[in-house]
């Protein structure tokens, strides 16, 4: 018998393009469910934190709904999370984009802007090179749309590096937590297979009960 299609909770984050994220999961046979319910975000088997827009606005949106605590709880309990673009950035400590706003502080490091001499925002396809022990990420071309980034993969994390006027951390992974500065939902086959690997890894985990 075929297993039931997995439900994926996509966190509603203000102006993020949820239609594209939902469509990617539908193409992979999953059932997207858009929500901002704090307890669901803490405990659902699969959660996606998309993000388009400014760091400060995204953090404010999460905090007002108690989702910051849900996400910390979720990550502390090693539950699968896919964070995209600004979703990856808010996992860090802070960002030059929104001075004075604290991030979730899961990932050590501060988000900084690309050098002024570069084309900003970085728009288009760039290549990613995974760190040696990364298990989900593969070398490939993926789609970026960002002006800010994490400069390096912190100690204790695997991830990927990309060159845009110098290296930056284009993705991070640790167990079932995958964070991408690029947009896997817009990265064609490379993005879909990455999401598929994340779904498979998540499926191998024993269901966690509270």
């Amino acid at each position: 018998m075929k297993p039931a299609p997995p439900e994926v909770v996509i966190i509603r984050t203000g102006s993020a393009n949820l239609a594209s994220v939902s469509a990617a999961f539908e193409r992979l046979g999953a059932i997207p469910r858009i929500s901002e319910d704090a307890s669901l975000v803490a405990s659902a088997p699969l959660v996606v934190l998309p993000g388009v827009g400014a760091f400060g606005a995204a953090m404010q949106h999460l905090r007002e709904r108690g989702l910051d605590a849900s996400l910390r709880d979720r990550i502390a309990n090693n539950r699968p999370l896919l964070a995209i673009c600004v979703g990856m950035q808010v996992l860090c400590e802070a960002s030059d984009e929104s001075p004075g706003v604290e991030g979730l502080g899961i990932v050590p490091g501060r988000i900084t802007r690309f050098a002024v001499s570069l084309r900003v925002p970085q728009m288009g396809w760039n290549s990613i090179s995974p760190t040696p022990a990364a298990s989900l990420l593969r070398s490939d071309w993926v789609y970026f749309a960002n002006s800010y980034r994490l400069a390096r993969v912190p100690d204790g994390w695997e991830g990927a590096r990309t060159d845009h006027g110098g290296e930056f951390a284009s993705a991070l992974e640790r167990g079932p937590l995958l964070a991408c500065q690029f947009h896997p939902e817009l990265s064609g086959a490379a993005g879909l297979t990455l999401i598929e690997r994340w779904l498979s890894l998540a499926a191998t985990k024993e269901p966690l009960t509270c």
């Binding site: 102006s15 990617a24 193409r27 827009g53 084309r119 728009m123 970026f144 947009h183």
Partner: protein, 196 residues
């Protein structure tokens, strides 16, 4: 390093792809979702849909077309045509666009760029510029509006720079050659925009 991108641009009217020369003598060219999926399979980096419907009914259809294309597409989708207000942009984003193209309405009211960028971010806003070489001043490119039918005296390169300052993240430049649609562009304005 960023790669160069190939972005097929599909003109959409009343839910169908149409093909013409300078938006005239349009003929049916197929289903938008089928064509977009085929372009992705053939290696396109992104898809742009330009809604050239002339009626409110056509505009309403465009949102459904965007939703249908989104379901089959796993690369970025830009949608333009008839975006006059933030509400128009929001409707297209909700339907499944990743980026919004603005053209004529932004020339008339440049603040539209900033309003859209404030809500969605600069990476979502594409300034579409139709440019023609000035007949009086060869080598100078001027902006055209209303699908190329309206002339202005606005310098295309200066307008691109201003739009970027106002919050546009990308420029979609179309050459509107006055003499022939087959003539190669002798002095492309994009080269100068790049340098600027």
């Amino acid at each position: 390093m960023l790669s160069s991108r190939i972005i097929p641009c599909l003109d959409i009217r009343d839910g169908r792809v149409v093909k013409g020369v300078r938006f005239q003598n349009l003929r049916d060219a197929g289903d938008p979702a089928e064509l977009a999926a085929r372009y992705e399979a053939e290696g396109a980096d992104e898809i742009t849909l330009l809604d050239i419907s002339a009626t409110p009914e056509g505009r309403a259809t465009a949102a459904q077309t965007v939703a249908r294309v989104r379901r089959v597409l796993s690369i970025p989708l830009t949608v333009g045509g008839g975006v006059r207000a933030v509400a128009d942009a929001a409707r297209l984003m909700d339907s499944g666009a990743d980026k919004i193209g603005v053209n004529t309405a932004a020339v008339a009211r440049p603040d539209l760029i900033t309003e859209c960028a404030n809500l969605f971010g600069a990476q979502c806003i594409v300034i579409a510029i139709d440019a023609a070489e000035s007949a009086e001043n060869l080598g100078r490119w001027v902006v055209r509006v209303r699908s190329g039918m309206g002339t202005t005296t606005i310098d295309a390169v200066a307008w691109a720079c201003r739009a970027a300052e106002l919050g546009a993240g990308e420029v979609l430049l179309t050459s509107w050659d006055p003499s022939s649609s087959l003539r190669p562009i002798a002095t492309p304005p994009s080269r100068r925009m790049w340098i600027v």
